[in-house]
Amino acid sequence: MDDLAIEVKDLSFRYRQTTHAALSHVSFSVPKGSFFCIIGGNGVGKSTLCNTFVGLIPHYFLGKMDGDVLVNGQSIIDQSIADLSSQIGLVFQNPFNQLSYTASTVAEELAYGLGNRGVAREEMVTKVEAVAKLMRIDQVFDQNPLDLSGGQAQRVAFGSTFILEPKILVLDECTTQLDPMGADEIFAIVKRLNNEGITVIMVDHDMERVAEYADQVLVLADGSPVLQGAPAEVFGDPRLADFGVEPPDYAAVTQALAKRQLIQDKLGVTKDQAAALVKEGLNHAD
């Protein structure tokens, strides 16, 4: 179908030399232009799933794959990682995995993918400088990427994918080492891209963030999808705790207030929704 960015069809995968399937019978689809979040506890297969979108599975990681994943309607099996890289970009969970190890400065690192596309040098320089500013890494522009602080490395990792302007952006816990405002800034950028039509697939443990941005949330447990829906549905589901996930604090607090009949019995999953409910509750009391 033309309107799907990603279509996962009965996908199973087991890494070589392991006995336990990392993914089993996963099916879902991500419409073009949506903001899709994948959540779940540690080790449930979120990163493995991300690896399939960019073709690292089955082309890079060895193992046994069944089923299929279509990116923009085409199977990942028939495309090379390089082909896929022109449509989809992945920001890795560990920023040091994103380094090319051929660059001696942050600037060269950011430019690496552009060079592989044959982008002219003048254009490259303009883009690299703009992205460095946007990511607030212009102060370490000439520093060796291996000497960066964790958060700086994560900014470089994001920048080096962002600079390639992928149509589908896959973010695997890409802000875990960022300072809180830095993470907010990155998500503001991601949201802006999403508004411009870029499809975003995000893995994160920060449920407030997920609730704020996601159109659709998919919950994985032990390699299989167990819940899917809009944030309000998923975070209101009583089974959530069984899958090792806690709803956003806003949901918990509005539930607690509603239970005491202090506010209207509605679930507020984002800060704005919760604030509206709380304000209304306070006014009502007057």
Binding site: G40, S149, Q177, E208, V245, L262, A275
Partner: protein
């Protein structure tokens, strides 16, 4: 156990100073959190506590003794540092060997090591993985392996560098449990974190750093109510605090219960 930092300056290269004169005293057993902007110098600061890095000027005193008077290896039995990136720390071929390595170096008896391995493995939930190769652990387990390896040495101060990174709900609870356990044993835990929810709920003292200096130092209530200064340090308060600030509460709640109490307070 007390760590005093006196007008501490440091740079990786002489022409580029990272820490611009830090004065701090860390003492007692109440766990301390260090938060702040990326590149502020948090990791650089805590690496001074056992002499991995040494000041270009100023002093670090551990129980009154200058840190430069003996080697990091000697200090390691007093001050333990868990690296931000687990891959920097692990190099042996099983979790058990990682656990035994440090204690052997500082001369712990083999009977004590044996006994501690089981205790610590249980504490960090790696009992079933003692014979696993650390490379085969996933990232979050690796972090617990590095934590265990340091706790094994039984230091009086344990410094955790971003342990919350990438942890799920269970991982956060486990970290909380480990910190409480160590505190109860009379140890001082110092933790760097970017997870404000975790910081506000697990620490009595929060130190905020920005651009190589300490900007704020106080209780979480104190620190998270100073929104203007926090902004300059690239910090936003935890979610419920933000919600309370948005709706104009006077209190600074961190938990659902505290928020409900604050609501009732405001309603009066």
């Amino acid at each position: 156990m007390q760590i005093d930092l006196q007008d501490l300056h440091f740079g990786y290269r002489p022409e580029h100073e990272i820490l611009h004169g830090v004065d701090l005293t860390l003492a007692g057993t109440d766990p301390i959190a260090i938060i702040g902007q990326n590149g502020a110098g948090k990791t650089t600061l805590v690496k001074q506590f056992n002499g991995i890095l040494t000041p270009t000027s100023g002093h670090v005193l551990i129980d009154g003794q200058d840190v430069t008077t003996q080697t990091t290896a000697k200090w390691s039995s007093k001050v333990g540092y868990v690296f931000q990136n687990p891959n920097d720390q692990l190099f042996l071929d099983s979790v058990r060997k990682e656990f035994e390595f440090g204690p052997k170096r500082i001369g712990m008896s083999s009977a004590e090591i044996k006994q501690r391995v089981d205790q610590v493995a249980e504490l960090v939930e790696l009992t079933d993985d003692l014979d696993t190769h650390p490379f085969d652990l996933d990232d979050t387990q690796k972090k617990f392996c590095t934590i265990g390896a340091i706790i094994m040495m039984n230091p009086d101060v344990v410094v955790f560098d971003e342990p919350t990174c990438g942890q799920d709900v269970h991982g956060d609870h486990l970290l909380n449990h480990i910190i409480q356990h160590l505190t109860a044993e009379g140890k001082l835990c110092v933790t760097i974190s970017h997870d404000m929810k975790f910081v506000s709920q697990n620490f009595k003292r929060v130190i905020v750093m920005s651009q190589g200096a300490v900007q704020l130092d106080g209780t979480p209530e104190d620190v998270f109510s100073q929104t203007a200064t926090l902004k300059t340090c690239f910090i936003t308060p935890p979610p419920l605090t933000q919600l309370a600030q948005t709706v104009g509460f006077t209190a600074t709640p961190f938990t659902t219960d505290a928020f409900v109490r604050a609501f009732e307070e405001e309603r009066k």
